[in-house]
């Protein structure tokens, strides 16, 4: 069951990072007047690129030969092929889910609410926390769940940067792959059921909160 716990831990950590990163990224892009298209495209890229390409870029950024990787090596830390790498891979790949969903709900909110906050003398920070976030809570919730579901299912980028080391970096999705490669269909089927049991309730949750009730 280690693969299960590694997956859950990874997904939770990645979602935690992506929650804040996506929120601030969406706020940043929402307020942009120029270069919006370019930056929006950059932030969405991990969603449309093949996961292996994303993994390749992550290796470029944090691998042993990158400035950041060299910096970490001074402290005897090596990210690649460690548990941390599974978190980074999942976070990068699931980031667009959060970012896109939140930005979408920000764009749907009544801009006058922000203007009203400003004319009432509320600081931009207060407007963000007390007006924008509550107004977009449904989008934020949906984005978080989507990001988590994506993080649980992450495969390609994880393989590239964290590998498939049983007990250390092997997650549910890579475990399915390993089992199938070894011809062990029973194990593969077990892992598949576990993934389904994790992901399906999340989608039900989104639909339940996404369609009903007031507010937006």
């Amino acid at each position: 069951m280690t693969a299960f716990w590694i997956s859950v831990k990874t997904a939770l950590c990645a979602t935690g990072i992506v929650f804040f990163a996506g929120l601030y990224a969406a706020r940043f892009v929402y307020g942009l007047k120029r270069f919006r298209g370019i930056i929006d495209g950059l932030f969405t890229l991990p969603m449309v690129l093949p996961p292996t390409v994303v993994g390749f870029f992550i290796l470029l950024a944090v691998g042993k030969n990158s400035p950041f990787g060299r910096f970490l090596l001074q402290f005897q830390i090596q990210l690649v092929f460690s548990w941390g790498a599974t978190v980074i891979a999942s976070a990068v790949v699931s980031f667009p889910m959060m970012y896109r969903t939140v930005l979408g709900s920000m764009e749907q909110m009544d801009r006058n609410l922000i203007y009203a906050g400003r004319t009432l003398g509320m600081s931009e920070r207060r407007i963000f926390w007390t007006v924008m976030i509550p107004s977009c809570r449904k989008g934020i919730l949906a984005g978080t769940v989507l990001a988590m579901a994506r993080a649980i299912g992450e495969f390609g980028a994880t393989m590239m940067v964290a590998g498939n080391i049983p007990g250390r970096t092997q997650t549910l999705s890579t475990a399915v792959y390993t089992a199938m490669q070894a011809g062990d269909r029973t194990s593969a089927f077990r892992w598949v059921l576990v993934i389904l049991a994790l992901s399906l309730p999340m989608m039900f949750f989104i639909n339940y909160f996404g369609n009903g009730k007031k507010g937006g």
């Binding site: 009544d110 006058n112 609410l113 203007y115 009203a116 906050g117 400003r118 004319t119 009432l120 003398g121 509320m122 600081s123 007390t130 007006v131 509550p134 107004s135 809570r137 007031k214 507010g215």
Partner: protein
């Protein structure tokens, strides 16, 4: 207490050119939808940035393109009533009202209580905006604005979201609130009656240009431009040709008119209000012409006749004159020749 605005901003279809000064008074900006009314208010509030010009409030420069000053919205001290009120939907009435207040918690509470009493909102403290009626929502929005102690009030079509009956009631309440407010108020609307009842001076905004702000009596009785004439409710406007004898010929209707005021080269249009036509028996008076009723529309308390003059040059709807009269009067005229007279003083010369 004064506001000086002199700004320009290029928009999609036209450029905004606004220039006026306001003291402690209620000024109305009258304009059709899409003429730049809301944009004007947004520029003053700092929500939008003008391309050029300056905005000065009580001696403080809010915006000056020459000196590169553009005060953030928060520092301008402006109360803005949005068309949809923009109440924070997830906050209670009380939280909405205190959202712009400064000070300690109990001071805010006391001030909010005072405002809720003043705006008849007691007992609604814990309600959410969606649970309130349209009128209550507007009162909350006003209370919230006044709680932030603004130096000037900007009202964007304040009654457009309400049905007619509520409109009247809230308008009267609003009048009291505005009269008690120690600063300038700017109200934009497309409703001439509303503007006339609430404001002291009115300016007409057409295609982004603000025409001179005038006393409302002057504007409504002697509109100077075709836009002002239309917005003040005049239904009949036609370009004119000036004749050598000082009379004018209305091009759309093919009739000669003798105005009371002397005609000069600045006269390009003529306006006649729909209820100023007087039915007469013969041609003894000047400014009398024969018409034929082409369409008869029964309104709630009057009859509207779309009539064509004998000499009408325009074949389409442009050539029609709109004439309004009481139902009794129309009954008396049944079967008679329709001769209409217009008094010299009621021939509005427009530039």
């Amino acid at each position: 207490m004064e506001l000086i605005v002199d700004i320009q901003k290029k928009l999609h279809h036209f450029s905004l050119q606004i220039q006026f000064e306001a003291g402690q008074e209620i000024i109305g900006l009258l304009g059709a939808s899409g003429c730049g009314k809301s944009m004007t208010l947004k520029c003053i509030a700092g929500i939008e940035k003008p391309d050029q010009g300056r905005i000065i409030l009580n001696g403080d420069t809010l915006f000056d393109s020459g000196k590169n000053i553009n005060l953030p919205v928060q520092k301008r001290g402006i109360g803005y009533l949005f068309q949809n009120y923009a109440l924070f939907p997830h906050m209670t009435v009380e939280q909405n009202i205190t959202s712009g207040m400064q000070g300690k918690r109990h001071e805010k509470k006391a001030e909010a209580d005072r405002l809720m009493e003043r705006f008849y909102l007691q007992g609604l403290e814990r309600q959410y905006p969606t649970q309130l009626s349209g009128g209550q929502q507007q009162r909350v929005a006003l209370a919230r604005i006044l709680a932030a102690k603004p130096r000037i009030l900007l009202l964007d079509e304040p009654f457009s979201a309400l049905d007619t009956w509520l409109r009247w009631q809230l308008e009267q309440e609003m009048k009291k609130t505005l009269e008690a407010f120690p600063g300038a108020t700017l109200l934009v609307s497309h409703n001439r009656n509303e503007v006339y009842r609430l404001c002291s001076r009115v300016g007409v905004l057409a295609n982004g240009k603000l025409q001179a702000i005038q006393e409302k009596w002057t504007l409504f009785q002697e509109p100077q431009t075709p836009e002002a004439c239309l917005l003040t409710g005049c239904k009949n406007i036609s370009p004119v040709k000036i004749l050598p004898d000082g009379q004018i010929e209305a091009c759309y209707w093919g009739i000669r008119l003798k105005p009371e005021k002397p005609v000069d080269s600045s006269t390009h249009y003529v306006g006649i209000r729909a209820h100023y036509f007087i039915p007469v028996e013969d041609f003894s008076l000047p400014n009398t012409f024969e018409v034929q009723a082409e369409q008869i529309i029964e309104d709630t308390f009057s009859i509207i006749i779309m009539a064509r003059t004998k000499g009408s040059l325009e074949k389409g709807r442009k050539g029609l004159i709109r004439w309004e009269l009481s139902k009794e009067k129309w009954k008396e005229l049944q079967g008679k020749r329709l001769l209409l007279h217009i008094a010299e003083k009621d021939v509005l010369l427009l530039s």
